[in-house]
Symmetry: C2
Subunit: 319 residues, 2 copies
């Protein structure tokens, strides 16, 4: 986790920009261009289906959108977190854009946290760990993983992370309302399921603790659970937190403050919509702009929102 | 789940062939060809890296291997289960081969169960549910999902499954040794975590029960847990089971018999290595064969192994 912690210190900003494009988060100009691309593709090749043409054009639009945002924030944030599901929804063309996005972020010096939530057992988990061990294919510095299958599903990722100087983040207490259904079940020894998972995560990371005191096995802890997050911070002294659910999902800077350690380290907070869709609240955006002009508004709004988030977090942390 | 149950009845075979290629499961001839392809690609384009050239060539080898097996078993099994991790390990080129494999199986009339174990929340889960709602992109009839995030992560898949006449299978009790770590935690009401998950799965499927009495929300229950599987069969009367862990992982036909209902329905058993790598035990295979000859041995051994598995299951079930 040392690389991430160093990157946070360099820009004095414990936040990560979630690159989770969706059609409704893109300016109309980009969607219009994608529609025009689709029409051209269908006209040029009548063996192409509408679904393939549209998802391919939309993937291209996602890439332009992402590149504008990466350019705008690369010098003020330490990391980006592309959510692979958004790209996978467009099929293999979408995944090409996922890897191109990771590559561009990497080339701009950002730590790339692939939000893939993979999880399987044995040799299958080892195959998924290719995300880290074959860096050239995916260009990620860390991935999120699902712990439901136990250590069999985690060890291959930990081994790959050690080998590649990379990290993983295991789901512990997620930000969504129904996270209680399984994660908050109370077990006979008095602890909840997520507390058991927390103890396992701390244990899985025990032999990969870096210079800054945190292991290569981080935890995902939702910003929407400030009390649980504070208790988990105590319970998991060597585990770095990835905190989703800030902003659009309701978590505030005050909510997440307890998930940091006494030095203001120990966590990185994600915001997606709050940064990448902040152009929607800007008076400078209008549908009359050209596509390039609209992307400039997207970029400058993202930079402004990322700056505000950094300042709010640092104020709440007294940094 | 009706389509799968009908397909099983048609061929009188409650088993599914796991298409999980790995280099060590391929005959030497295919790997030699992949190596030669790689060398040619590197010679033709010195901007290509060795990793990209090799994974691309290996992906092509996987496709040839899969097509030989699909051709060999298409008339005697109802379904195939490609494990997406094996393809994802080769990057985007691997995923092209995953979709090509699903497409070929679909075109041969097989039910395609994508073993993707995806799981996320809200709009992200909805994006992953594109596996089912955008059939043309992925060509799957069902996918496996991870339940750790609760119903928020499941509803989008259930909605997509209803819309597309497709199904999902949620992990309940997995086949691996460390599945106990989280799944077998005992909660204060006396049930284990996996039993709670079982009750949720039964509930998540309640409004999608088909003509054969099973819902669109199936459960993954490992063959390596015969006692738990028998109890889960009682506990989940409307939930169809996908049973991995047969054969190479140790589960026998007798072990899985209790996971079926009193009519010999209610479950489908997966075998991967036991079918696709059965050529390794054949006297007809030799390294002196041509690549096409070796693939013929792969195909006929897969067919023989699938036939034996069918007959063993039917005998154990008294069908």
């Amino acid at each position: 986790m040392d690389r991430l912690i160093d990157a946070i210190a360099t820009v004095n900003n414990p936040s990560v920009v979630g690159l989770d494009p969706k059609p409704q988060l893109l300016p109309k100009q980009l969607l219009d261009e994608a529609r025009a691309d689709t029409a051209r593709a269908l006209e040029a090749d009548d063996s192409t289906s509408e679904t393939f043409a549209w998802t391919s054009s939309l993937a291209t639009a996602y890439l332009r959108f992402n590149l504008a945002i990466i350019d705008a924030v690369a010098d003020i944030v330490p990391a980006v977190k592309p959510q692979i599901a958004m790209y996978e929804a467009l099929g293999v063309n979408g995944l090409l854009v996922y890897t191109a996005t990771c590559r561009q972020a990497h080339d701009r010096g950002l730590y790339v946290l692939g939000d893939v939530k993979r999880g399987d057992i044995g040799s299958t988990a080892a195959a998924y760990a290719g995300h880290l061990s074959e860096h050239e294919l995916w260009m990620e510095d860390a991935v999120t993983v699902n712990p439901y299958l136990g250590v069999d599903g985690i060890t291959p990722f930990v081994d790959a992370a050690k080998e590649a100087d990379a990290d993983i983040f295991a789901l512990v207490k997620t930000s969504n309302p129904s996270s209680d259904e399984i994660q908050n079940l109370r077990t006979v020894d008095g602890a909840t399921v997520y507390e058991h998972v927390a103890d396992l995560v701390e244990q899985w990371g025990a032999d990969s603790i870096g210079e800054h005191g945190y292991s290569r096995v981080g935890a995902v802890v939702g910003a929407t659970h400030p009390q649980e997050g504070r208790e988990l911070r105590e319970r998991m002294p060597h585990t770095f937190f990835l905190v989703p659910g800030y902003g659009a999902q309701g978590g505030t800077a005050a909510d997440v403050a307890g998930m940091f350690d006494e030095h203001g380290s120990g966590a990185i907070v994600n915001s997606s919509r709050g940064i990448i869709a902040s152009w929607r609240n800007s008076e400078r955006y209008s549908e009359d702009l050209s596509c390039d002009e609209a992307l400039k508004v997207v970029a400058s709004c993202a930079r402004a929102a990322a700056t505000t988030m950094r300042d709010n977090l640092n104020a709440a942390l007294g940094r």
